[in-house]
């Protein structure tokens, strides 16, 4: 019975506690006591044995009574309404209801006297009944159901009223004074009782019980416990202050176990538990015990926020960090204490005092605490609105955490637990990797200023602490000096910071830790414009092969690293490489999701709430975002630079190679527009630039690009724009030469150079390159410094004949593959992977075969070409393992070719992996994207099954 109250009450307490709070504050001591009296009395009558729940119950008693009475009043109103319309059916229902409520109230209200409200209702009903029975006319007019109800009501009422005859009579005598008098009476009673009770407890109850009392007092304070501190402390002091020497390890231990046992149970006040435990840390007898309790405090603090999506309150987080530091202090001071979560320590392990020489084992896991703290920090940044001051303030806590992480790492390293240390190191790396040097410096300065200003802060805090200490009474028995450093030490450059941590992690970390570190490292190198280093790291680590099997946040990290790598390549003027890195992100049009920087709505697919929640949980905090506008600009510009000459070269060619499908689609869309307005967004700008570039008008093209606002985000804006201008000139020249070669017989170098504002050498080099690669059917006439064009444009018939042979070739190829796929052989001695690849080709080829009627060969060509650059890239660094995964992706070919343009075999290397992973990482969408991605989607769902 009691427990039923308990659960019901638990949900209401929050609303009610404040009421109670006010009351108890005004009522001070006696009120408090009164509450207890009631409980105790209740306990005696009802369920005296269940002492554990006593504090909760008492609280509920008070509130539940009010609540029941309220309910009853509501029912009374219903009865009145029913009377007005003479509706006996609903009257009957209400009557049943009020009887039920009475039962409940009876449980709440002590004694056997029913509440006056109920009596009032009975009186009212009796009167009305008499009236109704008297009025025969009306009775006849009633509907049958109504009459039936009236009759049954008559009998019920009669029977019922017998029980309460006395009260009814009393009520009829003086209906108003009844209720008031009763209440007064009650209060008097309470007051009397409380005094009595208090005396009793003080005198007779043993220590243990008193403790409980203290807890009760504390328990009432839930929510506003800070205000109530003094009172509670007074109570606590009663047990512990009375005679410090009497407090033994056993008492503390027992109490501790009691509190811990309640943990996680429904309705346990989480905050109050923290408070209780915090108090216990003060009275702990040995350092080991203090440590043990502190661990529980920290766990309890983590418990305060139970939901996965919300974050821990910031003040609790800070307290938690402080607690961790104290833990470290203890560990530092008592090197014989070992923290371990593998073995269950012995019962009395923590009893061993500070002077105990042997090792003391305490259960706990520092690393997981640090990790949890970090996640909470991350979550809080996710949740806080980035445009508020709070967000900025929250950032100031970062050094605090870094200090803690550093200390824990140092401690673990001293212990020789490098594996754990590397985990902590990873957390540190992840806080720093995305910071450019300026931001890093700012953080360092902040930390230093903290350190300087800490004295002041500390002094204040100390005073506060002192005040609190005084209020709280006893100083903790185990005084811990601050041994662990509170001041972070950051190396001058973030690179040095990263290097020191990274080398540790590479040596000792597990696979996931290493992979994440590698990605962070790549990201960091990219920020610092070290493309070659970052690229080599990426390629040598083979990360892109395995990333689709990794967890979601690692995949996001991978995407971020790729995006940053692309930006870095662009800054360095490596257009094909930049395109190779970025094109992937943009193929699905889900950049935001892939980078976890917001949610894009998909038209085709409704997300389930779980997916959305999952997605939200992985979002990057605002300060870690990569500017999407810049990213898009870079991607589209790279695509433009590669695609425009390519389009010019292949206008009539049957084997149209598409470098960037995304770009082509955008271009088509913009061409379809009947009216092109001035460019507004990034896309418009690039499209306008593309139109200019197609005509070979580099000036206009550059002017449009230059007007993009997003360039101000770049550090070396001028240099990059110059680079861009040079690139645009080159491509304009190439486009021009290809497009208009049929109109010229010869073209002088001087003129060409002048037209595009290039140096003659450069123009010569560009043209020569085209001649060598046979993009341009021409040659130089050295004495006159002219390009002589050999117009070898095939006639229509010839072109068609070419197309025919091409198609036949493709047909033959796909036949062969189909045969191979069918027989599973024909390529004896090749490793199985290769063969699998062959089968995938078949898929690609087959797709092409279906399409070739409408003259588009892109799909099958994609399938065919992907292999070649892939091998080139795959061989590098990797003993050939690298290329494997990605070949089956249909679009692997495009990317490879994109990279191939600049001769970078490696770019195909990272494409291959990227594709799968782009789809791999958001499986919930992959399914929608059409058949060509199906393989990857399937792959992912398999791999995810175990993980999520």
């Amino acid at each position: 019975m009691a427990s039923r109250f308990w659960t019901q009450g638990g949900s209401d307490t929050e609303e009610e506690e404040s009421d109670y709070e006010e009351e108890s504050e005004t009522a001070a001591g006696p009120g408090e006591g009164g509450g207890r009296t009631q409980t105790n009395r209740y306990l005696k009558t009802d369920n005296a044995s269940d002492s554990d729940d006593s504090d909760g119950q008492r609280r509920i008693v008070r509130s539940a009574r009010d609540k029941r009475l309220d309910e009853m009043a509501a029912t009374l109103d219903q009865i009145r309404n029913a009377m007005k319309i003479n509706d006996w059916v609903s009257l009957q229902e209400s009557f049943d209801k009020i009887n039920k409520q009475l039962e409940k109230v009876a449980r709440v209200i002590e004694g056997d006297r029913p509440p006056s409200l109920y009596i009032k209702a009975l009186v009212m009903l009796e009167d009305f009944m008499a009236e109704a029975l008297a009025n025969k006319e009306a009775k006849k007019k009633m509907s049958s159901s109504n009459a039936k109800a009236l009759n049954s009501m008559k009998q019920k009422l009669k029977k019922n009223n017998k029980q309460f005859e006395d009260y009814i009579i009393k009520y009829r005598e003086k209906p108003e004074s009844e209720g008031e008098g009763e209440e007064e009476e009650e209060e008097e009673e309470e007051e009397e009782g409380s005094e009595f009770e208090e005396d009793l407890t003080n005198i007779s109850k043993p220590d243990e019980e008193e403790e409980e009392e203290g807890e009760e007092g504390e328990g009432t304070g839930e929510g506003a416990w800070e205000k109530k501190m003094s009172k509670k402390d007074k109570l606590m002091d009663k047990q512990f202050m009375k005679d410090p020497s009497e407090i033994t390890w056993e008492i503390v231990d027992k109490k501790f176990k009691e509190i811990v046992a309640v943990r996680g149970r429904k309705g346990t006040g989480r905050i109050e538990q923290v408070e209780q435990l915090t108090f216990l840390t003060k009275v702990a007898k040995t350092p080991a015990q203090k440590l043990e309790i502190l661990f529980s405090v920290i766990s309890a603090q983590f418990d305060i926020n139970p939901s996965l999506s919300g974050h821990m309150p910031i003040n609790v987080w800070k307290k938690c960090v402080e607690n961790m530091l104290i833990v470290l202090d203890i560990l530092e001071q008592h090197p014989n204490i070992l923290v371990d979560d593998s073995v269950e320590p012995e019962e009395k392990e923590t009893q061993k005092g500070a002077d105990y020489k042997g090792t003391i084992r305490v259960w706990g896991n520092l690393v997981s605490f640090v990790e949890r703290l970090d996640s909470e920090f991350f979550k809080s940044l996710q949740c806080i609105d980035p445009h508020t001051n709070e967000y900025v303030k929250r950032h100031r806590d970062e050094p605090m955490f870094l200090v803690l992480a550093q200390d824990v790492q140092d401690y673990l390293e001293r212990l020789g637990d490098f594996k754990a240390a590397s985990k902590v190191a990873l957390r540190r790396v992840e806080l720093v990797y995305y910071k450019p040097q300026e931001v890093y410096d700012a953080m360092r300065r902040l930390a230093e200023r903290r350190a300087d200003g800490e004295d002041k802060d500390d002094a204040e805090a100390g005073e506060e602490g002192l005040v609190q200490e005084e209020i709280r009474g006893p100083l903790s028995f185990v005084v811990v000096p601050e041994v662990a450093s509170r001041v972070p030490s950051f190396p001058e450059s973030s690179r040095a910071f990263m290097d020191s941590l990274i080398s540790l992690i590479y040596k000792h970390g597990d696979e996931r830790t290493k992979a994440r570190t590698m990605l962070c490292d790549i990201y960091h190198h990219s920020i610092f414009d070290e493309f070659a280093v970052a690229r080599d790291l990426l390629l040598m680590s083979h990360l892109q092969d395995g990333v689709q099997h990794m967890d979601r946040s690692t995949q996001i990290l991978f995407n971020r690293a790729m995006a940053q790598l692309g930006l870095c390549a662009f800054r360095g003027g490596l257009v094909p490489e930049a395109f190779g890195c970025l094109s992937e992100l943009y193929t699905g049009g889900r950049v935001k999701e892939l980078l976890a920087q917001g949610v894009s709505q998909s038209r085709y697919h409704e997300k389930t709430p779980e997916q959305e929640k999952l997605e939200r949980r992985n979002q990057m905090p605002f300060h870690m975002h990569i500017n999407l506008e810049l990213l898009e600009a870079v991607h589209l510009i790279c695509a433009m630079l590669l695609e425009v000459p390519n389009m010019a070269a292949n206008t009539h060619d049957s084997r149209r190679r598409v470098i960037s499908k995304t770009f082509r689609r955008l271009l088509e869309m913009s061409e379809r527009q009947t009216f092109t307005g001035p460019p507004e967004n990034v896309r418009d700008h690039v499209m306008a630039a593309t139109r200019a570039l197609t005509k070979g008008d580099f000036q206009q093209c550059f002017a449009v690009i230059d007007s993009l606002g997003t360039w101000k985000l770049l550090r070396e804006r001028e240099a990059i724009l110059d680079m861009l201008k040079a690139k645009i000139k080159d491509e304009a020249l190439r486009t021009f030469l290809v497009t208009y070669s049929s109109c010229y017989d010869s073209l002088s170098l001087d003129r060409l150079a002048a037209m595009f504002g290039l140096s003659e050498d450069h123009a010569h080099s560009v043209a020569s390159k085209m001649m060598i690669s046979e993009e341009l059917q021409a040659s130089w006439d050295q004495p006159t410094r002219c390009i002589v064009f050999h117009n070898v444009e095939p006639t229509r018939l010839q072109a068609l004949a070419f197309q025919l042979t091409d198609k036949l070739n493709i047909l033959a190829e796909s036949n062969e593959r189909a045969y191979e796929a069918r027989t599973g052989g024909g390529l004896d001695g090749l490793p199985p992977r290769r063969r699998g690849e062959g089968q995938d080709y078949t898929g690609g080829g087959g797709g092409g075969g279906g399409k070739w009627q409408d003259g588009s060969f892109s799909a099958s060509q994609g399938g065919r070409q992907q292999g070649r650059p892939g091998y080139g890239g795959g061989n590098r660094f990797g003993g050939g393992q690298q290329g494997g995964g990605g070949f089956s992706r249909d679009r692997g070919g495009q990317g490879g070719r994109g990279g191939g343009g600049g001769g970078g075999g490696y770019s195909s290397g990272y494409h291959t992996g990227r594709y799968q992973d782009a789809y791999g990482r958001s499986p919930y969408q992959a399914a929608v994207k059409g058949s060509q991605h199906e393989t990857s989607a399937r792959m992912v769902s398999l791999s995810r099954a175990g993980r999520v």
């Binding site: 390159k769 060598i772 050295q782 036949n815 590098r876 660094f877």
Partner: protein, 442 residues
Amino acid sequence: MALHQQYDLTSRIAAHLDRHLVFPLLEFLQERQQYPDDEILKAKIELLSETNMVDYAGDIHKSLYHTEEVPKEMLDRRAEVVMRLKSLEDSAAPLISFLQNASLVQELRPDKQYNLMMLNERYQIGPDQIEALYQYAKFQFECGNYSGAADYLYQYRALCTNSDRSLSALWGKLAAEILMQNWDTALEELNPSFFLVTPTLQNFSSPLSQLQNRIWLMHWSLFIFFNHENGRNGIIDLFFQDRYLNAIQTNAQHLLRYVGTAVIVNKRRRNMLKELVKVIQQEQHSYKDPITEFLECLYVNYDFEGAQQKLRECEIVILNDPFLGKRVEDATFSTVPLRDEFLENARLFIFETYGRIHQRIYIGMLAEKLNMDEDEAKRWIMNLVRNSKLDARIDSASSSLIMGTNHLNIYEQIIENAKNLSMRTSVLAKNILENVQPQGSR
């Protein structure tokens, strides 16, 4: 810093060589007079201090400080070395005496286990003695007695069962052969050891040590490849294997110089050029020297002026490189054969590329590009044309060279495209039929 010093790779290469193998490099540097003599001598002493070639170190010390006295520690060391040698000799003596007796050696059979048993039973030569042989050989090597070391190591390998030891014996043998300049044997030796490094190591060693081993092997092999007449093909075969190319890209980019040179000089391995250029481009941020830059100018940027200039730098680099700049002394004058070959081939490269994109070239200009005078250039071109390496004619009137156009006839292209279709289809059809028939008969 002078050009030749700037591109001196000695320090980078030495890191991957055996101590003893660095000597030839230092000798070369001394010969080239690139660095002050004193510095080199000091470096030599430094080098020798870890070896047992105490007498030699003493000699160098004398010549360096122009004294007759040898420092005391060197004398001490000498005594120690001699003592050590004695003791090792003693412990290995039974086996050595056995091996020196030709008739006894005849008893050995190819079966290792049998040999061990036999030695153990009849001559009381156990694993200890065999181990002693290894130590003794190593000591001999340290002392500079390479031929002795090589012999002992050879015999040790016949008896040894420990694969790690066997491998280091192999390395020792290779080093000894190189130092004795037995290029033929060294090349032979290279093959087994190179096989050892590639496949077997793979099974039981970390990728890192594999990489290290490969890099060592490549460095050591430079001695052989650039001294053996057959080495030019060998270097390309070895270095262009994927694993080795990866190793170069990962940790030994400076080897690109040698690969580049080898490819340029080797007429028959032209096809490797494309791959090499790709690699060079990828690594240009981490390694650059005139030879790689030359290739880059020529095949990436088509910058002929630049290539020209780089070619001149290449010459200096080649002359000052210990592997490339090997001299051949004739009675009266000395030449560097590799340089001449390199220049000749590089010139041809430039000309070829230049010719491909030009229709008409002024010969005077060409001569300038090729570092020749006009008549010489004309003769050179005429030779090329005559050897039908070049489809071109000289127009004497305008003193220009007219390149033949080499466009494929469009019909030829179409025929080319369709040519193998019928063959492929018939093969396919045959395959299908073959597959179907057995099934049908079953």
